[in-house]
Structures are given as C-alpha cells and as structure tokens.
C-alpha cells in the first residue's frame, strides 16, 4: 500500500507530466483557455490512461516484443475512440471546443510513455497507481493553467460542464471592474505559453528550494 501511495504521489509532484516532464504540452497549451475544456480533457486523459495502463499491464506477458508499440497504439486508440464517441453524443459543446485535440490523445506522449515505461513492465496494481498519479497530475496542472488563463483573460470563471451533464447549477463569478477590461492575451495562444512558462519556472524554483 505504501508503494501504491508512492507511485500515485510521484505523478502529482516530482514527475508531474506538464511542469516537470514537459510532456503532453500540445493539448495543454491548446485547450487550456477555459476551465470547462480543462476538466473535459482531464477526464478523457485520466480515463484513457487508466484503461490502457490496466490492459497493457495485464497483457504484458503475452504481448510479442516486436509488436509492442503497434499493440499499445491499438489499445490506446480504442479507448480514445470510445471517449470521442461518448463525448460527441452526450457533451456536444465540449466535443466541439476540444476539437482535434480529443482524437489526438492517441498520440499523447504521456499515455504512450506510461505504457512503454511503466505498464509494460509492472503489475496491474502499480500501473493503476501510476495512471491515476500521472493522470491527476496532468489534470491538476491543466486546471491550474486554465483557471489562471480564464480568470485573467475573461475577468471571471464560468463552468457549465456540470450543468450539461447532471442538470446541476452552473458555477460562475466575475471579478468586478476587471471583467470590463480583461487581459485578452491570456485566452489566446501567447497567454498559454506565458502561463505555462511562468508556472514551470515557479515549480522548478520550489523544487530547488526543497533540495537545498
């Protein structure tokens, strides 16, 4: 159990996919302009990562070595297509705004990376911990980035995802005064680079302070 917790916390902290490993930056940059997007993307990535890690880990002894990568890609692509179909049918607005980045999870290097580096060499329980850790680490990073971008770029936060899914109330607030003159650059592409770059620097700095 101690090792489960260790594998899990590793993904959030020391090997955070976005801030430390700098993996999966393409979708992180592209979709993080709104919190809705970040939540949807995170859910999709966690689901695909968890399912593919479990299957790959369970099948690791029967997968022929030379067909390793094609097999992983087929397994990952299956789950991604599944998520795409479900999103298209049940959360169409999210499907529209994630656009090409949803099917592109197939080639997301976080997922293939975990399959190759971890799940194909470790038992199922450890792979679940690894997938959840890396997945939650990715989700937290994406949520942090999109929170800052949406807040600065539009002057407020609005989440309508849960409203569409469960008819729960929508969540929104605006910063008075600031919302009239938001820093629009933060919802555009340059803002993504600025926010991710500054956050990376911050986490590096924190990491170095800890080591000293």
């Amino acid at each position: 159990m101690a090792s489960f917790a260790k594998e899990f916390s590793k993904g959030i902290g020391v090997s955070n996919p976005i801030f430390i490993l700098a993996l999966g930056l393409c979708p992180a940059l592209a979709v993080s302009y709104s919190l809705d997007n970040a939540l949807g993307m995170s859910a999709a990535v966690i689901f695909v990562l968890l399912c593919s890690n479990v299957i790959i880990s369970a099948a690791r002894k029967i997968v022929p070595k030379i067909m390793r990568i094609p097999t992983f890609i087929v397994i990952i692509a299956t789950f991604v297509t599944l998520v795409t179909l479900v999103f298209q049918a049940y959360v169409p607005t999210l499907y529209q705004s994630l656009g090409i980045y949803l099917p592109l999870i197939v080639v997301n290097c976080i997922i293939l990376g975990r399959a190759e580096a971890f799940a194909s060499k470790n038992p199922v329980i450890g792979s679940i911990a690894d997938a959840l850790g890396i997945g939650v680490g990715f989700a937290l990073a994406l949520i942090l980035i999109s929170f800052l971008r949406e807040l600065l770029g539009t002057g407020g936060i609005s989440i309508s995802l849960f409203e569409q899914l469960f008819n729960a109330g929508s969540l929104s607030f605006t910063l008075p005064a600031f919302s009239e003159h938001p820093l629009t650059i933060f919802v555009l592409s340059p803002g993504a680079f600025l926010v991710i770059g500054l956050l990376m620097a911050l986490f590096k700095w924190i990491g170095r302070k800890k080591n000293d």
């Binding site: 029967i62 997968v63 022929p64 030379i66 067909m67 094609p70 097999t71 087929v74 397994i75 692509a77 299956t78 297509t81 599944l82 179909l85 479900v86 298209q88 049918a89 049940y90 169409p92 656009g99």
Partner: protein, 179 residues
C-alpha cells in the same frame, strides 16, 4: 511446427487485438449513434424555426426526404439536407426553399474543414449569399452564378455550392412531381 507458430504469433496477436477493439467500438457506436441522431433532429428543427419564423408545422415526406413546411395550413417552404464532399470529410447542409425555385437560406450543420480556412463556409458572409437566390444562380460568379467563393477555400466553397444546387434540383423535381 513450434518455430512456425512462434513466427506467426505476433501477427495473430495483433489481429486478435484489432478484432476485439473493433467489436468493442461497433458496440459503443450502436449506443451513441441513436443519441446523436436525436440531437441532430432537434438541431434541424431549431434551425428551421430560425429560418422560417412563422413556421408552426412540418410534414416529413419519407420518400423524397423533403420537409414540407407549413404555417396555418399553408405551405411556406421546403427543407432538406444536402451533403457535399469537402476538403476533409462530408459537409452536411440544411437547405431551405421558399418555393420550388428560390433558396430561403442554408445552414452548415456539420463540417470538418481546415480551421481558419475552409471552416469559413459556416460564416454568414458565405451562407448569407444563398438567401433569395434562384436555384440556377447557385454557382460561382465566374461560372455564371451569383456567389463569391472564399479565397483559399475553393474546394470547400465548391462543395457547398454544388451540394446545394444539385440536391435542390433533384428535390424540386420530387416536390413538383407530388403536386
């Protein structure tokens, strides 16, 4: 024999994996496609109401796949779906006709054209040009029609124009045949 088996094992394995994968996806698709169909139907109805504000009833003619649009019992127009082959995938267009020769408006229901280039076909600047045109005039200006294509997006523009014109001509024959 075992050595032969060892040679073909990778092939068999991947074939099996792909087979399982496809089965799973077909199964999922059968669930989600019904949901998708229902939503598309709803979207068509909403778009038609914005195109024909006075609309209060419509008749779905199953044979010709044309909706006859009614207001207070009078026919006020027709609507049907046209599908064009765009630059990257099908473009689904909802076409509304005022009578058997005039276009009331078109709405792009779905498309996968290049973002920022081909996807400008969804803009009012392009779709608005169809409003009020005679079906024969649905063509590029240089080809004798009245529509300005989109610069850098000729294939996408042409796909929409051709789909609207050809489907409209075909459906008009069916409409007139009924009356």
């Amino acid at each position: 024999m075992p050595s032969l088996l060892r040679k073909i094992y990778p092939i068999l394995f991947v074939t099996l994996i792909v087979f399982i994968s496809v089965t799973l996806l077909i199964f999922t698709e059968s669930f989600t496609s019904a949901e998708l169909q229902a939503r598309l139907q709803q979207q068509v109805e909403e778009e038609l109401e914005s195109m024909f504000p006075e609309l209060d009833d419509s008749v779905d003619n199953e044979d010709s796949e044309v909706y006859t649009l009614l207001a207070g019992g009078e026919t006020i127009g027709y609507a049907f779906l046209a599908v064009g082959t765009g630059y990257s995938g099908d473009i689904a267009i909802l076409v509304g006709l005022e009578d058997s020769e005039t276009v009331k408006g078109i709405i792009i229901l779905s498309q996968q054209e290049t973002p920022g280039i081909g996807d400008r076909i969804t803009g009012d600047g392009f779709t608005g040009q169809f409003t009020g045109l005679n079906i024969d005039a649905v063509n590029f200006k240089q080809d004798g029609g009245q529509i300005d294509g989109l610069a850098m997006a000729t294939i996408s523009s042409e796909a929409v124009i051709d789909a609207v014109r050809d489907t409209a001509m075909e459906k008009v024959k069916l409409i007139e045949g009924v009356e």
